[in-house]
Each structure stands twice: as structure tokens, then as C-alpha cells.
């Protein structure tokens, strides 16, 4: 049995370049990402396995993380501090961000939503270096905050070059991310369910915990993941607003490559730990959270 259909000339040419077209579209980016992202990651993995001054592979660089020097786990304490800062920052962002996102997504009239959301997250698009810098002018001993406190008769406080300063800067940096992610989730909140709950006699607290939160749990998880990853690996805020006692994991990495530490194998090992931690969080997010948030950037 033969089917004899005159082939459409366009379709014919489309078939000839069947493999060529997707190749031409997708190869350049693939090449770039493999060359300058994946292969470099393999390079630091290999470098992390070579202890400084040696040529054979070992896990020495990874064990260096638990070095115990002068009565202190000098590196582990930094890792722990980074985790702590990330947790505190995420907690505050959630606490401050949720009511704002709720107000933007649910309470205000629809025509105002986009413009006000844009206004709120606009600082996100300005340089994080400059935003941290702006906080220095506020927080430093002779800065705006202390001038104000003195004016109203209070004694000045000093939070710059301390953990408090770093946390203030981090919350400021990552709050818009949290609001953005929660907004995307709250926008789809089914308001009829809230009304139904109220009609059936639930008070606002019950409605919130039993109706609102479960509906936006995927957004909460995604926002938490995003903010904790970013603040965990933040370099700028600890560097500018913190002191020697509030250095985090990113500072240790920088020190091994560009600073006094000068141990690239060890720096690579910590970077691998960082990448691994991020991968775990992303894997959890993909499994339990809202994937759209990741793909929306």
C-alpha cells in the first residue's frame, strides 16, 4: 500500500533541517553553560580534593572544616554563624513580609496591586553593595540613627560591625524577595473560603491558620528556601556591616582565594559544601514547594 501525497515544499525543507534547527537554537547556550559553569564546577571539585602542597587526592580539605585550633572549631563556628544568620534573616523576612504581601495581594483594590508591588520590590534591583553602604551611613556611631536617638534624649547604640548590623542589612536585602514570592502565592488565594470560614463562625486567627496558611504553604516554603539560600551565601552584608566577629562562609571562601588565607584547595572544598547545601534546599523545594516560583526567577 502506498500513500502518495505530494509533499508541501515548505514541509519538505522543514524536514531536511529537522535536527539542524534545534541544534542551532540550543547549542550555543548549552556550549556556554557547559564551558563556563559546569566544567568550572568540576574543576573546583577536583581542586577541593587536592590538599595544598600535595599532588595526590584526599579528603583532607573537607576535614579541615572541623579543624580545632586554640580551643575553638575555627571554621565550624563560621559555618554555624552563617546558618544562624540565615535562619534569623529568613524568620524576620517571613514575619515582616507576610502582612505586606497579604496587603498587596488581598486587601488593596486590584488596579493598585502591580504598581505598589513594583514600588516595594524596586530597591531589589538597585545594587546590593550600595544598599549596604546606605545602612553604614545610618548605623555608624556618628550616623543618622544615633543623631536621632540623641535628639530625642536617648543614648546612642552601636550595631555596626556586629551581628545586629549584618542582620539588619540582610533583612533589608532579602525582604523584597520574600514579599515577591509570597505575593505570587497569595494572589491565588481563594477568598470565598475565607468568607465561608467566617460565616461558619471561625474567628480571624482560626481562619488565618487553618485556611490561609495551608493554601499558601508552597509559597512560604519557596520564599523561605530562596531567602535562606541567598542570606547563607551572602558576601556583601557581612563584609560591609559586620566586623571580624561576624564573618560568614562567603568571607572564608574569599579569604582563601583573594586574601590572606591563600589555600585554594580548602576554599574549593567550602564552595563545594555551599553548592551541596544549596542543592539539598533546591531538591527539597522541588519536592515540597511551588516550582513556579523557581522558574519565575
Amino acid at each position: 500500500m502506498t500513500v502518495n501525497i505530494t509533499p508541501d515544499p515548505n514541509k519538505q525543507s522543514a524536514r531536511q533541517i529537522k535536527w539542524l534547527e534545534p541544534f542551532a537554537l540550543l547549542f550555543p547556550t548549552g556550549f556556554w553553560l557547559i564551558s563556563f559553569l559546569l566544567i568550572p564546577t568540576i574543576f573546583i571539585f577536583i581542586q577541593s580534593l587536592v590538599p595544598s602542597g600535595k599532588t595526590e587526592f584526599s579528603l583532607e580539605n573537607y576535614f579541615k572544616v572541623i579543624d580545632y585550633v586554640g580551643g575553638n572549631f575555627i571554621y565550624l563556628i563560621v559555618v554555624w554563624r552563617s546558618v544562624l544568620y540565615a535562619l534569623i534573616t529568613t524568620g524576620f523576612c517571613l514575619l515582616f513580609g507576610f502582612p505586606v504581601a497579604y496587603w498587596l495581594a488581598v486587601i488593596i483594590p486590584k488596579q493598585w496591586r502591580n504598581i505598589l508591588l513594583l514600588l516595594f520590590v524596586l530597591p531589589l534591583w538597585t545594587s546590593s553593595l550600595l544598599r549596604s553602604y546606605a545602612w553604614i551611613t545610618i548605623l555608624r556611631p556618628t550616623g543618622v540613627l544615633n543623631s536621632f536617638l540623641n535628639l530625642i534624649g536617648l543614648s546612642g547604640i552601636n550595631v555596626l560591625n556586629k551581628a545586629e548590623g549584618v542582620i539588619i542589612g540582610m533583612v533589608y536585602t532579602y525582604l523584597p524577595y520574600m514579599v515577591l514570592v509570597l505575593y505570587t502565592s497569595l494572589e491565588r488565594l481563594d477568598l470565598r473560603l475565607l468568607e465561608a470560614a467566617a460565616d461558619l463562625g471561625a474567628n480571624s486567627r482560626q481562619t488565618f491558620w487553618q485556611i490561609t496558611v495551608p493554601q499558601v504553604s508552597s509559597g512560604i516554603i519557596a520564599g523561605t528556601a530562596l531567602v535562606s539560600i541567598s542570606s547563607f551565601s551572602d558576601y556583601i552584608n557581612p563584609q560591609l556591616l559586620g566586623g571580624p566577629g561576624s564573618r560568614t562562609i562567603a568571607s572564608i571562601i574569599e579569604l582563601q582565594f583573594l586574601g590572606a588565607g591563600n589555600n585554594r584547595g580548602f576554599g574549593s572544598a567550602i564552595s563545594m559544601v555551599l553548592i551541596l547545601a544549596v542543592t539539598v534546599v533546591i531538591a527539597l523545594l522541588v519536592k515540597y514547594g511551588d516550582r513556579r516560583v523557581v522558574s519565575d526567577g
Binding site: 515548505n10 533541517i17 534545534p22 542551532a24 537554537l25 540550543l26 550555543p28 547556550t29 548549552g30 556556554w32 553553560l33 563556563f36 559553569l37 559546569l38 566544567i39 568550572p40 564546577t41 574543576f43 581542586q47 502582612p99 496587603w103 498587596l104 488581598v106 502591580n114 516595594f120 534591583w125 538597585t126 545594587s127 550600595l130 544598599r131 553602604y133 546606605a134 545602612w135 553604614i136 551611613t137 545610618i138 555608624r140 556618628t142 550616623g143 543623631s147 525582604l175 475565607l194 468568607e195 467566617a198 460565616d199 463562625g201 480571624s204 541567598s230 551565601s233 556583601i236 571562601i253 582565594f257 576554599g267 574549593s268 564552595s271 555551599l274 544549596v278 522558574s295 519565575d296 526567577g297
Partner: protein, 266 residues
């Protein structure tokens, strides 16, 4: 029983809470702006209005050279990313192939992997292949994340486009190239423009990756700002520069957002 939804916004505690949150978001920027016009170089007291600091940093040769470096890095990175990112978004929307989700995942990676890890990996790689660090190496590293950004924004634009228009053009005798250039591309343009604008801001503002991949004499603006912060701390000149950069970034981001939503409402 009155539903809680119908309480007017002004009477809700969230409204006042949000007002405070807005205040928090804009306070540092406002303070910076005010003190950039302060006559006294000391940031603790106001002694009068001046434009002096704005003209002063424009005369600063180091800052001007680094601004030029930043602009050339960003323009090259964004131009390359615009082409590659658009091609990738179209390819991802159009074809199914084994390993597609892996490929898509890889394009998102630069947005998720921390800056510092990308910076370190790129540096180690460049050193290993003995590529001397320069403006070129910063461009290579910036293309990685700009590419990801353009791809994501154009992909989301593509998802809202009717593929039948391009099919109709093909049926009416257009070659695939004609259909792409004259039917698909104009529809994608808002996505491409807004993706490029956002990538441009990210590239101009990037400090960490540039810091690791810059060579001698390839100081970008954020690197210059960081080192002058380390050496001299807060100066009114730096305040003036920061205000200009913040205004520039915010305006470009706002334009990008307007272009994008204009595209969606078309």
C-alpha cells in the same frame, strides 16, 4: 456576621504595617540622597545644600574609568545574552528531546547557585586554562547569568503567545526564517527588551563575580566603590555616585517591568 474581607483597607492593621515596611525600604535611599546634597562632608550634621559632590565624582578619573569598564562589560554581556537567550527560549518551547528537563534546569542554575560559588568556580577555571584575567573574563562570566535571565523572561513571554500565528505564516508560504523574523520576533520583543534591561542592571551591579574574575586594570564600578569604601569609608562623593546609580537602576527596572506588562496586555 460581617465578613472580614469587607473591612475598608484604611482600617486594617496590615495597611499601617505596610506603610512602615515601605518606610523601611526607602529610608536608606532617602538618607543617602539627602546627605549627597549636604555641604559639610560630615554625615552627622546638615550645613546647607550643594551640588558640589555630584560634579566632583564626575571629575574623578578612577571612577570614570571604572564606569566605562562596567558599561562595556554589561553591553557586551547583554548583547550576546540577548541572542543566545532568545534562541534558547524558542528552542525550549518548540522541541522535545531527551535530556530537555536537564537542559532547562541547567539554564536556571546561574540564578540559583550563589554568586560566590560561581565566582570561585570561574576563577579556578580561568587560572587552570591559563586565561589571563581581564575585562574579557568578566564578560564571559557575566554572560552566564545574563543568559539565564534573558532565557527565563523570554520563555515566560513565549508561553503567552499563540503558536498558530507562526504556523499560519508558514502555511501562507513564509520560509521558517521569515516566519521567525516577521511574526514571532515582534511578538517576543517586549520579553527580550525587558529581559535585557534586567540583565543589564544585574551585570552593572554585580560585585562578587566581577571581583573574582577581574584582572589588573579591569576594575568595574562596583569594585571601585568597594575598594574606596574599604579605604576611606563614607564620603559625600560616594553618596552622590550611589544616588545616581540607584536612580538609574530603579528607572531601568521600572521601564523593564512596564514593557513586560505592556506586552502581556497587548
Amino acid at each position: 456576621m460581617a465578613s472580614q474581607i469587607k473591612v475598608p483597607p484604611i482600617k486594617r492593621w496590615q495597611t499601617w504595617y505596610t506603610v512602615i515596611a515601605f518606610f523601611y525600604m526607602y529610608l536608606p535611599i532617602a538618607v543617602l540622597t539627602i546627605f549627597s546634597f549636604n555641604k559639610s562632608p560630615s554625615p552627622s550634621q546638615w550645613t546647607g545644600f550643594t551640588w558640589e559632590w555630584y560634579s566632583k565624582f564626575l571629575q574623578n578619573p578612577i571612577l570614570r574609568a571604572s564606569l566605562q569598564n562596567s558599561l562595556s562589560v554589561s553591553l557586551v554581556a547583554v548583547s550576546v545574552s540577548a541572542v543566545l537567550g532568545t534562541l534558547t527560549a524558542v528552542g525550549l518551547a518548540r522541541y522535545y528531546f531527551p535530556g530537555k528537563s536537564l537542559y532547562r534546569g541547567a539554564t536556571y542554575l546561574p540564578l540559583i547557585v550563589p554568586d560566590i560559588a560561581i565566582a570561585v568556580a570561574t576563577l579556578v577555571f580561568f587560572v587552570a586554562i591559563k586565561l589571563p584575567l581581564s575585562l574579557g573574563t568578566i564578560m564571559i562570566a557575566h554572560i552566564v547569568f545574563c543568559l539565564a535571565y534573558v532565557t527565563v523572561v523570554v520563555s515566560s513571554r513565549l508561553a503567552s503567545i499563540d503558536p498558530k500565528l507562526e504556523e499560519a505564516a508558514l502555511d501562507l508560504g513564509a520560509t521558517p526564517l521569515q516566519a521567525f523574523l516577521r511574526v514571532l520576533l515582534p511578538q517576543l520583543l517586549p520579553g527580550i527588551v525587558s529581559g535585557c534591561l534586567l540583565a543589564f542592571i544585574l551585570s552593572m551591579d554585580d560585585f562578587v563575580i566581577a571581583y573574582f574574575t577581574a584582572g589588573v586594570g579591569s576594575t568595574t564600578l562596583p569594585i571601585a566603590i568597594f575598594s574606596s569604601l574599604r579605604n576611606g569609608g563614607v564620603t559625600p562623593e560616594l553618596n552622590a555616585l550611589s544616588v545616581l546609580l540607584i536612580i538609574a537602576s530603579a528607572s531601568i527596572a521600572a521601564i523593564a517591568e512596564i514593557v513586560r506588562s505592556w506586552g502581556h496586555h497587548q
